[in-house]
Symmetry: C2
Subunit: 440 residues, 2 copies
Amino acid sequence: MSTAAPRTAGPDHLWSVDEHLADILATVRPLEPIELNLLDAQGCVLVEDVTVPVSLPPFDNSSMDGYAVRVADVAGASEQYPAALEVVGDVAAGQADLLHVGPGQAARIMTGAPLPPGAETVVPVEWTDGGLGEGPADGMRARSLAPEGATGQVLVHRPAGPRAHVRAKGSDVRAGDRALEAGTVLGPPQISLLAAIGRGTVRVRPRPRVVVLSTGSELVQPDEELRSGQIYDSNSFALTAAARDAGAIAYRVGAVADDAATLRDTIEDQLVRADLVVTTGGVSVGAYDVVKEALSYTADEDEPGSGVEFRRIAMQPGKPQGFGSVGPDHTPLLALPGNPVSSYVSFELFVRPAIRTLMGLTDVHRPRVRARLTADRALTSPKGRRQFLRGRYADGTVTPVGGAGSHLVAALAQANALIVVPEDVESVAPGTETEVVLLG
Amino acid sequence: MSTAAPRTAGPDHLWSVDEHLADILATVRPLEPIELNLLDAQGCVLVEDVTVPVSLPPFDNSSMDGYAVRVADVAGASEQYPAALEVVGDVAAGQADLLHVGPGQAARIMTGAPLPPGAETVVPVEWTDGGLGEGPADGMRARSLAPEGATGQVLVHRPAGPRAHVRAKGSDVRAGDRALEAGTVLGPPQISLLAAIGRGTVRVRPRPRVVVLSTGSELVQPDEELRSGQIYDSNSFALTAAARDAGAIAYRVGAVADDAATLRDTIEDQLVRADLVVTTGGVSVGAYDVVKEALSYTADEDEPGSGVEFRRIAMQPGKPQGFGSVGPDHTPLLALPGNPVSSYVSFELFVRPAIRTLMGLTDVHRPRVRARLTADRALTSPKGRRQFLRGRYADGTVTPVGGAGSHLVAALAQANALIVVPEDVESVAPGTETEVVLLG
């Protein structure tokens, strides 16, 4: 694995949130498209304009269960003076060999079945006696009860104009029409349309594969015994879940001890299945900040464009961040701080947009709204840093949950929004309208 | 496989949309809970109140990289008159054997590391010379560069009050606190909290397994050759995608020909992996309506509570619907009409709420809003039927896409909302405020 020297502004630069995000979004590129089976492409972005190859419906067909007849044969028909027609057989959906309907004849026809030659219109079964000679019918007898199909005579009680209850060939889409444009996100209705026009595979940008690993010799797996000085690893679980939520295929590697060689080996091993690597912890100014130590190490200076830069961002929480790329394919890597709330906020602000950029989405950010602050007292925020407080948003108001401390993972679980306090604001009074990021 | 006679109102009853939905929601029960690994429980509903077993953080720890000292030793320290302390070693995160900090001493301490005995407060490294004797430091030397740890002397330039930069044991959550309540949906922040308190598994209602099959002898797989009278199967793709979107694990069986025995065998085979069966097609009044034929057949009348009832619903599209249960476990089954738009609208209105009820969610419906109709001319709607038109919603207005015809799958792919026209309304003028279902 190779990393290289920082690419940009130098270690003393204090980055704004917007500068850091802009650098990430300018660097991360959408993944190369691949051809996927339709259901594997759900949620993905189409990269081709899809043209309709064959008109839908591909043939004139009945929109009702009834009888295919000639218009003249049912003109003037009424319940008192029904038209009596000879039933020449059934036309079922999917039937290839069609009857011919001549003068004085009718074919029993099912919804979706092709209008047979000679027939000009369809009368619904409810407008007939269903061939039973017993007044208006409310349906047909199931084929299991009369497997030979329809024969005999049908009485038609109402007239029908030309092409009544007929869905015309091409009335939904026509061959040559644009079905979907490149850039469309494939949800169920789009998948429906693609299947309907016969597309079993489509060219899309795949879901990014995101490898999530946490670092820290103090970290223990949940359900294991907690010894003195240890805490449970929560970041690798939270960010794996969050990466999936953003649309990625996420792989949780789990906690790596604070040893630079181990961390480098682990990342190198994982690169084979990574479109993006996310680490937590080890990015600050301590002597055991192993992510910084491992990835700042310049092993291979002749790989231009590689390297992870560790930065201070003018924000709270989340001041220390790393961003860059690793390995021969310059796989992007985001190194987040280790505190659970800091890493989660950092994920929302930086990793989620990166994942959605990899997917080829144009709308990569969480929605933001203005909301009125409901609180007992003013929020305070350090000058020169953009603060993200956890809050609950509802109906145009937002209420902080927990305090400003970055370790309040319990409060985070109650939050559905981040309250944004700009860099130049040090106090926000109750009732003030503030910007809020909705966490969905 | 056994089915039985209809359970309710008889074949002549015209059901309202609300009656049909109420019957479904009164019948479908949330799935039995199971214990799942944390990441497998993402998106699921918790069925237990989770109590915090151990306080977080579990011990007093440092919130900064710096030096653990006694308050008296740094009182009055300044850049001009720094306090000189003997560095007795490192305290790293996860370290179990702790140094003792005596008078005149300091331990180099990392973020998250336990406050060592004897120390009363933490001074950040930026308030010291970092042990290098060269004025204020901006960080520590990586352990790789000084593997012996901190020794020698550190100069402290600022005083610190008791327990400064110390995160107190239990300041996030306390043992015995309620972490999460039964009924909580587990998103990334809740997974974060559960991992943080050491829960590797949780008791949740699992995702329902939904088997989707379409019926129709006219149906061909996408990418295959379309012969005379045939169309492509789109419903099984669309509804599989929609079921996943609703939170289910969906299995697409694909198209079954119009033969009752084949259909019954197929459903029976699939029951082993089904919490819910969804079929499309074959529910109307035609002679080849195989779903109706196969499932109305009463093979085993001594299994009370089984049976699928076929109904007419006062709606457009989607008038014919079937609902009931099949098999020895009374697996719920919804039989939707075969037209792609009808089946999709039916899914949104009836199947999605059923899936979300199986998941144990309380909020099972799509959000609804009021929107102003933007259209060239009035919308017309049949009296006595609730109409669902496809529309595009944006900023408080909704515009119809495509016409009222139920076969316009192309228009459906452009829609993001359903426009609801009530039963007693036959015309909706442009500018009218109408109810809209947001398709998300």
